[in-house]
Amino acid sequence: MEETILQLVHVTGKKQRNGFQITDVTMQLREGYIYAIAGENGAGKTTLLELIGREDSRYTGNMIFDGMDLKAEHVKAMEGIGIISEDCLFFEDRNGKENAAILGDFYENYEKERFFSYCKRFQVPLCTSYINLSRGEKIKWQICFAAARNCRLYMLDEATAGMDPVFRKVFFDLLHEIMAQTKACILMTDHNLHEISRQTDYVAYMEKGRLSGWKESMEVEADVWI
């Protein structure tokens, strides 16, 4: 049976100034699957990912990652969590190779050769400064970097937005391959329920900070067409 990688039990975030709040999110992500959260702008998808990934996030409930309490062992847990988002900050005036060298030092499991081999395979330019990379290249660089440190959980925040269909297919092939190699699971967010349900295993819909139950993607796709 597949191992549970991330478990959220009745997680409720701190109310923001505009009154928005992640409310009572319960979910269980198992290895080997791609999970997607769809929803409109402002539904709380990014906020949920930040709630999971940030050390200073405030919430009630429990988050368990790979058997560790995320709040108590956040630093250790971040070794195995890769957050991929256009909004992530990196050393913009350094190139991909330098960024990997600087940040790789922070990770125990980071393998330089593995990073280079992924970058070579997926044609990620390593000598271009980070700021000059295209959106797709930035996302690919981040995935290669996360894969090079054997992440157990990949959290992709609207990573596929704006991708053309051909590149999207290559992108999901890459995700499946990495997931198979590292026994990981992927949690991603997107606006387009139809598009995302074709490429993932389970889909949930988020609305006003609340998450609906997970449905199998095929089931969701059929519903969308009907």
Partner: protein
Amino acid sequence: MFGYDRKQQEKIEKLYEKEKIWYPDHVMHTFLMWLLTGISMIILLFPYQAYAHDHSFYPTLICMYALYNWGIQIYAGKYSLVRQNGKTHPIEELLCYVPVSKRQIILYRIKKVQKPVIRLALFNLLVKCFLSCVIYHSISVFDIILPVLFLLFVPFMLLMLPFLRDILFRY
């Protein structure tokens, strides 16, 4: 109590020392620190007995202590901010998804700032006591308390504010 983690400290040290990410603003931060603390020191070196009965001098004194602390906070900015492509980002934001605790970054900053702060406070205390001895032939207890409180304790407390906020409002 503060959960000092040597391994994480070494990683942060490596980031600063090897990559020199502070370099673009290094001169400005250091220069401003010496400028502001230097200006404030002129007044803060006066022995307590020189203004003990002159209450009108107190606002000036408070301003000088504020100026001194501002200078120290600017110096700490060298270990708080990263400038790239004309934008300044807090180092905590840059490392927010990296396995290094925000608390360790604050501790690292305090570790780096403590040397000039301790030296300045000690210098102020010794000069204050010396002048007091020479001019008034006695040392007031405030000649010791004021430097220790405002030049040593307050700067560290200000640096630890995010740390304390993190502990107090964790949940």
